[in-house]
């Protein structure tokens, strides 16, 4: 079980700020594939992962990063701070 968080337009497209996901995904990309297969709104949000960033346990990561024992995975668009 992993907590999956969504921010900015990813949150809006999926319609949730966070959810618990039962997964056996080995990598972030595997998790993305599982989510895409769920429903259209996920498929739309994850249609172009080059437009997305991911953090694993609050650290920026790559999509091929292993999930391992991570508890929290967050998906969001490129950051626009400052």
């Amino acid at each position: 079980m992993v907590d999956v968080l969504y921010f900015a337009w990813v949150r809006e497209r999926i319609g949730l700020p966070n959810e618990q996901v039962e997964t056996k995904a080995a990598t972030v990309m595997d998790l993305v594939e599982e989510l895409r297969a769920r429903e259209e709104r996920y498929a739309v949000a994850f249609s172009d992962i080059s437009a997305l960033r991911v953090a694993v346990d609050q650290e920026l990561a790559e999509f091929d990063a292993p999930i391992g024992t991570a508890r929290e995975i967050a998906f969001f668009p490129p950051m626009t701070g400052g």
């Binding site: 953090a55 490129p78 950051m79 701070g81």
Partner: protein
Amino acid sequence: MVVKVQSAPFDPGAELTAFSKTGDNIGAVVSFTGLVRDVADGLQEMTIEHYPAMTERAIAEIVDEARTRWSLADALVIHRFGTLHAGDTIMMVATSSRHRADAFAAADFLMDYLKSRAPFWKKEVTSKGDGWVESKAEDEDALCRWDR
């Protein structure tokens, strides 16, 4: 180092005055203040979303990196979230050092990294609707300046 992530407004002048009194034998303080800019379609409000569990730590890591690169006495980062309006102060960065070159370079570095690596997202509400501010390629390119 002080990192504050808050929705409340702050007084950059008062923060800078207080910051300038910290640090032992500093000769230079550099600060940057970011304001909400109006946009072509008329900005009604800007909403800044962030990732609370990650934000302060991500900023602290960026400041730590700056401290490995330059000789800093201290650093301050304040970044707001929530609803803001044109002219409001969004954030400020201040750095102090014995000599100005370190403080200038570190402040410049901090701004480049905060823009693209701190988990904040801006949404603008205008007379023509609302939309998320997109990151710019030039902001990402700016980080390459600091590659080593």
